[in-house]
């Protein structure tokens, strides 16, 4: 492959980072107090919550399914934990964190088993679990329960060295771990293959049901982590945490290279998608744009994401077609040249 084609393909694969860079440069000049250390850290911190959900959704989309329940898990897992631990005399914060994660994983397991083994439709099934969990949270938790154990709130509130938010560090580290898993390990490769063609992967001896269940479990775990961040940030568990975030998670995952067809996307791209969402939020707020208008702007972003999904495939095919054509012409010219000489 020639160098130019390689660069073109690389840029296309990382389109979201280019968008992010352009947006960043624009705001550096156009938005006051955007380009400050404090604000940049703030963007990272603000994106960490959505980032977990984007990654969760992205991984489920990678295996060709979708999960509507993650934003309800975000409230459900810490909510149930807080109800259980508040009745204890001396609750252990580590047990509480473990319990939150386990609830998240368990919900993912239930979703996964019904969808992979019983072939339930993932849209309908996770819609039902979402409504069930949100309903229970609204019923069980009166508006909000405040006063968390310090260690439980550490992920959301803690600062490394008193300045840098723990959530922002965890956010980046988790993405890097998943990037490694999905680009370099057998475990991750199986997700991409299963999403790309489930039947062919099954025939090739991959336990595709297990892969799909794993995807939902990971999504549940990440949603629980998001729950820890959300609860810690406000030092309380409220019953409305995460409401309507799942749609934005789709937008982030698609911006980051995911597709409803399955088998596409990289965690590192989804990191870009999550950051772009966070940066738009931040920049528009700094500019003093009305909250509802910010929401409309993000709606526009979903639109762009869908167009991008379509456009990217076409452009990729076009670049490779050009490359192929050039190679064919070169071979033809070579053989013509050798005949002439």
């Amino acid at each position: 492959m020639r160098r130019r084609t390689k660069i073109q393909l690389f840029l296309l694969d990382n389109l979201v980072w280019i968008l992010l860079l352009l947006f960043f440069i624009y705001n550096t000049f156009a938005t006051d107090s955007f380009f400050t250390m404090r604000n940049q850290v703030n963007i990272l911190f603000q994106s960490s919550l959505m980032g977990m959900l984007v990654l969760a959704q992205g991984i489920v989309m990678m295996v060709g399914e979708l999960d509507l329940s993650i934003d309800a898990t975000l409230a459900f897992a810490p909510g149930i934990t807080i109800l259980v631990t508040s009745s204890m005399v001396e609750p252990s914060p580590f047990l509480a964190i473990l319990m939150t994660l386990m609830i998240g994983g368990l919900i993912g397991l239930v979703n996964g088993i019904f969808i992979a083994k019983l072939r339930a439709n993932s849209f309908l099934f996770t819609l039902s679990t979402q409504i069930i969990m949100r309903g229970l949270v609204l019923f069980l938790i009166p508006f909000s329960i405040s006063g968390l154990l310090p260690a439980y709130a550490f992920l959301g509130r803690g600062r490394v060295g008193g300045i840098f938010p723990v959530a922002a560090v965890a956010f980046v580290v988790i993405f890097l771990i998943f990037e490694f898993l999905f680009s370099k390990t057998i475990f991750g490769r199986k997700f991409l293959l299963t999403g790309g063609n489930r039947k062919a992967s099954y025939i090739s001896g991959i336990n595709t049901s297990r892969v799909i269940i794993m995807a939902f479990v990971i999504a549940g775990l990440l949603a629980a982590v998001a729950g820890l961040i959300a609860a810690g940030r406000q030092n309380a568990v409220s019953n409305s945490m995460g409401t309507n975030m799942v749609m934005m998670a789709f937008a982030g995952a698609i911006l980051g290279g995911g597709s409803f067809e399955g088998g596409m996307g990289k965690p590192i791209g989804m990191l870009g998608g999550a950051l772009l969402l966070g940066m738009i939020d931040n920049a528009l707020t700094l500019k003093g744009v009305n909250v509802n208008l910010v929401s409309a702007a993000k709606g526009g972003l979903i639109f762009i994401a869908i167009m991008l999904d379509h456009f990217r495939v076409k452009l990729n095919a076009y670049i490779l077609y050009k490359e192929n054509l050039k190679n064919l012409i070169e071979t033809a010219e070579d053989s013509a040249g050798s005949v002439a000489s």
Binding site: T185, I186, F187, N197, Y202, G205, A317, L320, E323
Partner: protein
């Protein structure tokens, strides 16, 4: 050899001249000629892959030809689409019944144009009409039944009735319709055809079965490797002469790959005893020795895919045992079968074979991920050379191992499919139509790889769209007919024509299979 004749019976209703269809890399049809006359049953026959389905697609307007002329009722038609075909009163009944499962018999018969409807549908009237039609052909089925409660045979017959009596088409194309009919319904079909011909309609009848074709048709057009062989009066043909027209004269000595290098071990690696899944295949007994290539010859629907899938644990079987190295095994998932080195090459390349949006590399290494990794981590320095080696062995034409499967031609895709099995070096390869839908060059290359590389490590069970491919590389050929092995040929005594006739169930000893 029978000479093609010029028959001038009625007026020509459908003519095809110089029809050529090119697919990327292959010529499916090359200057094919066809002339169908009013009031005849015109048969079309050819081997698998001869271009029958493409030809039918062109007549019914589904596939546009690359070149050539289509004349309907004496007038040239420039672009034949399904809508235009309908306007010329051409109806097609496909192999797989196209019905709406959740609707009733009456609804399906009159879909999409309900008779006598302007503002609302008069169901009573339609129901009465449907009953009349069904009574007329003597097809006892209740009009209020939902289609999903009908057998496949009844569905298919219903579509025939729809084309003949509801649409009242002038030209009725029946694409292997009788394959899914039971004997009783077949008799009804023949009666309908007779009646339609008397009414001055024309029937184009496509079938694999020479016997049926000779009984039903007035004339047959034979196509072979995308060329017209000719059009013959069935009165002048018998099954043997028709079979030789279909198969053609083959020069075996040219085709057989290096005969001397065949080294087959003594030890039996793989054995099936009374392997049965009722309704799909029954009492299959076979043994494979190391390095042996055994062909399974059978028509579509003979049970070969079902057999392969059951061996590999993709489908279930009900009775019988499977032995690997003398140890009894039973697989309930392909995961277990492939762990034991029993690999299935999918007949359906696009749906079941390849991950189309992944790269060539990722597809080739799908079965050997543990070999290109250390402690679960995949390393480029292990994976890339392996992929390059396979691309070279399989002669896959691509400019990079990172290229997506999507962008390859059919032949190259098929090479990737074979390559990923080869990479694993399994003990038993189940190659279901390993040369399906590929051009000559790719076919030769794939057969060579199977013969030279794959047999070094594995024993091979292979099926193929044509007997000729099996003859080239197999040590033995077993003929599967209606789910049973009815005959076996060993290498020196291969005879394409004879095998072809056995596949048709023609040379059966009486009472062997119902």
């Amino acid at each position: 050899m029978v000479e093609p004749q010029e028959v001038t019976r009625g007026q020509r209703v459908l003519e095809l001249h110089h029809i050529t269809k090119l697919y990327s890399g292959t010529v499916a049809l090359d200057n094919v000629e066809l002339a169908v006359e009013r009031g005849e049953v015109h048969g079309i026959i050819g081997k698998n892959g001869a271009g029958k389905s493409t030809l039918v697609g062109i007549i019914s307007g589904i596939i546009p030809p690359s070149r050539g002329e289509i004349i309907i009722n004496g007038k040239p038609v420039h672009s034949l689409t399904p809508a235009v075909a309908k306007k010329h009163s051409i109806s097609i009944i496909t192999q797989e019944p196209q019905v709406i499962e959740e609707s009733t018999v009456t609804e399906n018969l009159f879909m999409p144009k309900y008779l006598g409807s302007r503002d609302f549908i008069n169901w009573r009237f339609l129901d009465q009409k449907a009953k009349e039609i069904l009574d007329r052909v003597g097809f006892p089925v209740e009009t209020y039944l939902k289609i999903r409660d009908l057998s496949i045979s009844e569905k298919q017959l219903l579509l025939v009735i729809k084309a003949c009596y509801v649409e009242e088409a002038d030209i009725i194309i029946m694409d292997e319709v009788s394959a899914s009919l039971n004997q009783k319904d077949q008799r009804i079909l023949y009666r309908i055809i007779d009646e339609r011909i008397k009414a001055g309609k024309t029937v184009i009848f496509i079938s694999h079965h020479t016997k049926e074709l000779l009984e039903v048709c007035d004339r047959v057009s034979v196509i072979r490797d995308g060329h017209s062989v000719g059009c013959y009066d069935t009165a002048a043909l018998d099954m043997k002469s028709l079979a030789s027209l279909i198969v053609g004269e083959t020069h075996y000595d040219e085709l057989v790959l290096e005969d001397k290098s065949r080294e087959i071990g003594e030890e039996t690696i793989f054995e099936l005893r009374d392997f049965t899944a009722y309704g799909r295949f029954e009492d299959i007994n076979l043994k494979l020795r190391k390095g042996e290539i055994v062909g399974i010859a059978g028509l579509r629907g003979s049970g070969r895919t079902e057999l392969f899938k059951a061996i590999a644990g993709i489908d279930t079987h009900e009775k019988g045992e499977l032995y690997l190295h003398g140890v009894e095994k039973s697989y309930n998932s392909p995961e277990k079968a492939s762990a034991d080195g029993v690999m299935y090459l999918a007949e359906e390349r696009e749906n079941e074979g390849l991950v189309n949006i992944a790269s060539i590399k990722k597809n080739l290494t799908i079965n050997i991920l543990s070999k290109v990794s250390r402690r679960e981590v995949i390393y480029d320095r292990l994976e890339n050379p392996k992929a390059d080696e396979l691309i070279k062995t399989m002669n896959i034409k691509a400019f990079s191992r990172e290229q997506e499967i999507n962008q390859l031609s059919g032949g190259n895709k098929q090479k990737v499919l074979v390559g990923k099995i080869l990479a694993k070096a399994p003990r038993v390869c189940l190659l279901d139509e390993a040369t399906r839908g590929v051009d000559i060059e790719a076919k030769e290359s794939i057969l060579n790889t199977i013969n030279e590389e794959m047999r070094k490590t594995s024993c091979i069970l292979i099926s193929s769209p044509g007997v000729d491919d099996l003859i080239k590389i197999c040590d033995r050929i077993m003929v599967l007919y209606k789910g049973r092995i009815i005959d076996e040929f060993a290498r020196p005594e291969f005879n394409e024509e004879k095998i072809y006739r056995v596949m048709q169930g023609e040379l059966l000893k009486s009472g062997e299979v119902k």
